[in-house]
């Protein structure tokens, strides 16, 4: 078992076009670090410094991680992480 990470269109340049990739870790931050080892550059599109980017939404098992601890959100094998770009403008 691993953690499935669903990747939005705009980040599939980092995953050779794959819509979903596997990751490992005990927190969302660790999963992103793990992804970065195989998909270099992807983490910087989701994280800015110590926080999630303002206009990227990340969900663990359908919960927006902004309400569950951000990058510190616990994850375990079998969980699903979804990354979605915010749809926003002025």
């Amino acid at each position: 078992m691993a953690i499935e990470v669903k990747v939005p269109t705009i980040l599939r340049t980092y995953t050779a076009g794959e819509k979903a990739v596997s990751g490992a870790g005990g927190t969302l931050g660790e999963v992103l670090d793990d992804l970065e080892t195989r998909h270099a550059g992807i983490k910087g599109r989701v994280v800015d410094g110590e926080d999630l980017r303002r206009f990227v939404n990340v969900y663990v098992n359908d919960e927006d991680v902004r309400f569950t601890g951000g990058l510190g959100t616990d994850v375990k094998d079998g969980d699903t992480v979804v990354i979605l770009p915010a749809v926003a403008g002025g």
Binding site: N57, R66, A86, G89
Partner: protein
């Protein structure tokens, strides 16, 4: 066909009317939503108004929970976002600097309507314009409004 070729957005009259009605209803706040279509078809068929979580006259943002449900729904129907629309309530129907900076769906047609200068009150058709926004570059494209029998009824 190149993936991001500037082209024509063909929009059903009923969907055009629904976008305009939504913009008028939410004025003075910005209205926003999408039109989904079969994956790879570039045909906007299913009108889906979205909540503007910002509830602002100068900003729009899809509610995060609604956004996840939207993508799950599209996946389940093998659909994708063909059109992402929003209204400008005090400026022209052209992408703002913020629109360009935050555009993250290179495959979508970004559609704008303007309700400025009291246009939200009238019964006149509102102009609707469409753009591709890729890597900070904006390209306007023609909009063709068609009746449900596919007869062109005007621009």
């Amino acid at each position: 066909m190149p993936p991001y070729a500037a082209g024509v957005l063909t929009l059903d009259q009923a969907i055009y009317a629904a976008i305009v009605a939504h913009a008028r209803r939410d004025h003075p706040d910005e209205a926003c939503g999408v039109v989904a279509g079969p994956a790879g078809s570039d045909r906007p068929q299913r009108f889906i108004p979205m909540l503007n979580a910002a509830m602002s006259p100068t900003f729009y943002e899809f509610d995060s929970t609604e956004l996840l449900r939207l993508y799950q729904d599209l996946d389940a129907h093998d659909e994708e976002l063909v059109v992402i629309y929003h209204s400008h309530t005090a400026t022209e129907a052209y992408p703002s600097r913020t629109d360009i900076t935050l555009a993250q769906e290179p495959g979508a047609h970004y559609v704008l309507v303007s309700t400025r200068d009291g246009a939200h009150r009238g019964a006149e058709p509102l102009p609707l314009r469409s753009y591709r926004i890729v890597d900070g570059e904006v390209r306007e494209e023609d909009v063709c409004i068609v009746a449900s029998d596919d007869t062109a009824v005007g621009e």
